[in-house]
């Protein structure tokens, strides 16, 4: 463990040292006449540093990500017959235990085979670590030697550093993109495994959702018999209902406050009202959640009793209402921006024709800002669809197919949470259902975002 702290530190010291070497080499080559150099000495220092350390760093990174799999392949092939005789379901946990044992973490009395495997792991780690250390060291030395030799008056170290920076930036964005692609593919892949157990159409159009009652017995037919408990329609209906409630609260309030802020409020009011409104966006959703569950829901139920309405203590209304409050700043802040982006000259043109302020806003400003407002609403909707905490606390767990906002409903996100809480078998249909739900959720929000972005793009073409 200590070792893993030392290595980055060593790298850092090495980097600074090599930088200084390169720098002083450059200075000595030009006899202190820095103007003679093509690049400033610091560039030569960075040049030498990159030359010496980059290959070793890349090698170490590759090793970091691949050693896990390579060691597993090594151990399995060494164990041979005795490993393949372990039941397939226990193989993964066997390897995990052996690896832990190799790091001196033991679970009771290990079997002989386990001991043997852990020894193999330890050996592999020992051996390969040495190889990597030696290779890295020699890469550093070779790089250092070549780099040092290359330093000259006309060396374009500055351009080299420039290109290296570009490579660094590219690799950063590649990491971000690859992660996204990885998540999408794992969603698709795991969903596919789910759809092998539960027919796609049963999932998408089924009316009954109670995955907790799905159990996989010993029989081959168990999972197919239970597939009809994975009908996702009630879950999507719940999401739709709550989102509709949320947006019908957030859209008018958000839009009207945006109009007030951009066109009516004086600069002083705007200066404190806008940040205040944006504070709403900074409140953690879990706070909204218990606000919904502990304040709004009981209030609604009490109010319902007074007028003779039966409102359950967990209701779509309470969750949707609070979620609506939560997304107000999304609507108002984005709409405020697009309304402000409508040129003042259009407002002047309208009022010079004798239009009042509200006529100007309704007839000129809002139509011009409409694409931006639509995309603000889209983003707010996709935020509402993906929101979890509020609905977990306030909307309920039971998947009921209803459009009555005063009943308890459940949403996609709530179901994902419930399915993953507690002990899970990783390949049961129940757990895999999470991926299918996630995939659908992802598709919906992605579509909304794409629509929003393309609308924004169209809008930009009009004004810039």
């Amino acid at each position: 463990m200590i070792q893993s702290l030392y290595i980055p530190l060593l790298f850092l010291v090495l980097a600074i040292g090599i930088f200084l070497i390169g720098r002083s080499r450059a200075i000595s080559i030009c006899n202190g006449q820095i103007i003679e150099l093509h690049s400033k000495p610091a560039f030569h220092g960075s040049y030498l540093m990159l030359y010496a350390l980059a290959p070793a760093l890349i090698l170490s990174l590759i090793w970091l990500f691949s050693s896990h799999y390579l060691s597993e392949i090594y151990v399995v092939s060494k164990l041979g017959e005795s490993f393949t005789s372990i039941p397939a379901a226990e193989q993964t946990s066997f390897l995990r235990q052996a690896r832990a044992l190799a790091n001196d973490v033991s679970f009771g009395e290990p079997s002989d085979l386990l001991k043997q495997a852990s020894l193999l792991f330890a050996n592999f780690a020992n051996l390969t670590n040495k190889i990597i250390a030696i290779t890295s060291a020699s890469l550093i030395l070779i790089g250092l030697w070549f780099g040092y030799k290359n330093i000259s008056l006309r060396l374009r170290a500055r351009q080299f550093v420039e290109r290296s920076i570009m490579v660094l930036l590219i690799s950063a964005s590649v990491v971000a993109i690859l992660t996204t692609i990885g998540i999408v593919f794992s969603l698709i892949f795991e969903s596919y495994r789910f759809f092998e157990k539960v027919p796609f159409l049963d999932f998408l159009f089924g009316l009954n959702w109670s995955p907790q009652s799905a159990f996989e017995g010993a029989g081959e037919l168990a999972s197919t018999r239970n597939s009809e408990v994975f009908g996702a329609i009630p879950v999507f209906a719940g999401t739709l209902l709550i989102t509709l409630i949320a947006i019908s609260i957030a859209a008018p309030i958000g839009l009207m406050s945006a109009i007030y802020l951009s066109d009516y409020a004086s600069l002083r009011i705007r200066a404190f009202a806008k940040p205040l409104l944006e504070v709403l966006a900074g409140i953690p959703t879990v706070v909204y959640g218990f606000f919904a569950a502990l304040s709004v829901a009981p209030f609604l139920r009490g109010a319902g009793e007074n007028v003779g309405l039966v409102i359950s203590s967990e209701s779509a209304m309470a969750a949707g209402f609070v979620m609506g409050i939560m997304i107000i700043p999304f609507v108002s802040s984005l709409s405020d921006d697009v309304i402000n982006a409508v040129p003042q000259s259009l407002r002047d043109g309208s009022s010079a024709l004798g239009a009042t302020k509200s006529e100007t806003i309704v007839k000129v400003v809002l139509p011009a800002a409409l694409p931006g407002i639509v995309s603000a609403l889209m983003l707010a909707i996709s935020r509402a669809i993906g929101e979890t905490m509020i609905v977990v606390m306030a909307a309920g767990m039971a998947a009921k197919l209803t459009m009555n906002p005063f009943e308890a409903v459940t949403t996609v996100t709530v179901q994902i949470v419930t399915l993953l809480v507690g002990d899970q078998e990783f390949d049961s249909a129940k757990t895999l259902a999470v991926f299918a739900l996630g995939l659908v959720l992802f598709c919906v929000t992605l579509t909304l975002n794409i629509i929003a972005l393309s609308v924004i793009k169209k809008y930009r073409e009009q004004y810039d």
Partner: protein
């Protein structure tokens, strides 16, 4: 400006349409206009000239109270339109602006169709009761602004798709569609090429028959070409006013002389 028109003008006794008396304008603590006294005469083109920042646009915007939209702007003195103080509490600003139309420096058509741009004013003022009447007003305004022939086949296209000069004529059509009595123009040609400028100048001359026009311009040639009366502003003060011919051929004030000969500005 044709010679004939000028001669006609001298025959008719000029009537004062707008009368500005002791007008001071402040932006916060800064005074932008000092004690302006200026008469705008009916059915004439009055041009306001002067170097940048001299207050000519500020004065123009006082005439339809466009300065009201600026919070820190304060105006004292009196400006009367047909003898009625336009800063009186009884005055409805919305109605005033319908009577005193304005065309801006940069063409600012609404992102609506050409037809809707022109129909905007008549619609909000409820000037028409039927579609036919509205059509008539739109066509008449477009014709009067000299744009109709160019756009008659594409009235439903966006006003922003027109060229700069066409857009400015659309804005003029939009302004005259509400049948104003006065038309204020704030450097209407400064964003246009010479050909478009020539077309607009000719238009201004024609519009004089129906409207009283006040035009702010940077170009002294333009002032000389289109206006009958010129007022020269400098550093927030009205230095000299009078018949355009006099101002340009025989200025009384040294500053005016310097400006029109290009020594200040």
């Amino acid at each position: 400006m044709s010679k004939k028109a000028k001669q006609e003008n001298t025959k008719i006794a000029p009537q004062v349409k707008i009368k500005g008396r002791n007008v001071d304008v402040f932006y916060g603590d800064k005074q932008a206009l000092f004690d302006i006294n200026l008469d705008i005469e009916r059915n004439q083109v009055t041009s306001l000239i002067g170097p940048s920042g001299c207050g000519k646009s500020t004065f123009l915007r006082c005439l339809n109270r466009m300065n009201d939209t600026i919070d820190i702007c304060k105006i004292t003195g009196s400006i009367t339109l047909d003898g009625q103080d336009i800063y009186d509490k009884e005055i409805d600003v919305v109605e005033l602006r319908a009577r005193v139309g304005m065309v801006f420096q940069k063409p600012n058509p609404f992102p609506k169709s050409i037809y809707e741009n022109v129909a905007y004013g008549p619609r909000i003022h409820g000037m028409t009761s039927s579609k036919e009447e509205l059509d008539k007003i739109v066509l008449k305004s477009l014709k009067r602004a000299g744009l109709f022939e160019e756009v008659k086949d594409r009235l439903d296209e966006s006003g922003t798709s027109l060229s700069g000069g066409q857009q400015q004529r659309l804005c003029i059509a939009r302004a005259i569609a509400t049948r104003p009595e006065v038309l204020l123009m704030d450097e209407p040609c400064s964003a246009l090429d010479p050909i478009a400028t020539a077309i607009i100048e000719e238009l201004i001359d024609e519009l004089r028959e129906k409207f009283t026009i006040v035009i702010v311009t940077h170009s002294m040639q333009q002032a000389a070409r289109v206006s009958q009366k010129t007022a020269f502003f400098h550093l927030g003060k009205l230095i000299e006013e009078g018949a355009t011919d006099d101002i340009f051929t025989n200025p009384r004030n040294q500053k005016t002389q310097d400006y029109i000969t290009g020594r200040i500005g």
